[in-house]
Symmetry: C2
Subunit: 121 residues, 2 copies
């Protein structure tokens, strides 16, 4: 699969795909005889995972750590699990924070709708 196809499939840019490869999140992706990337199924699986985690706000730095641990083999299983568990906690915390903000936002909108707005922001 070409970079363009992959970019379209995952709704991201070619640049981002090359960038992820440069920082070591994916690949190195195989290139054909004229130096053009040809993404494997495995590459696609990784990209999907990375994309999903990125959309949740997990940093490239953390993802890179995970990928590097994976590359080191089975001996890092526990470490990887712990890393994921930490990210799970952070993510749950973030979702909680955002849900609280959403509630306040909804309350404020209610004030607008019912014209009960006080004099503050």
């Amino acid at each position: 699969m070409t970079i363009k196809e992959v970019a379209e499939k995952f709704n991201m840019t070619n640049d981002t795909l090359r960038y992820y490869e440069k920082v070591g999140l994916i690949g190195p992706v195989k290139k054909n005889s004229s130096g053009i990337r040809d993404y494997s199924d495995n590459d696609l699986r990784r990209i999907e995972f990375i994309k999903c985690m990125r959309s949740a706000g997990i940093s490239i730095e953390v993802l890179k750590m995970y990928v590097d641990l994976y590359a080191k083999g089975d001996s890092t299983k526990l470490e990887r699990q712990q890393l994921l568990e930490e990210e799970q906690e952070k993510l749950e915390e973030k979702i909680k924070t955002m849900t609280e903000a959403l509630d306040k936002l909804k309350y404020k909108i209610e004030l607008y709708k019912t014209d009960k707005l006080d004099k503050y922001l």
Copy 2:
């Protein structure tokens, strides 16, 4: 209330408070005779709102728009409501995305815990 006290209260830095003021999200904050900021209750209310919305990822640009509309008075009520409703939608969407990522993360962690991990990332 001094900048230091406010910063501590809301767990942010003095720099961030001055920055928010510079870009027009709050204030201008009243200064005492020697030029030192003295935050009012109203300032605090605003800071709390801004902080809450920022923690949900609402951009400074959008918050600035809201603040500016507020400053223009009652005639902008509908516009403000619409702005908030748009942000509500975006926020709900973001929470949904993050919840999906969280589910995948949990699933992956389950694989680690039960030692059913396949050969991929």
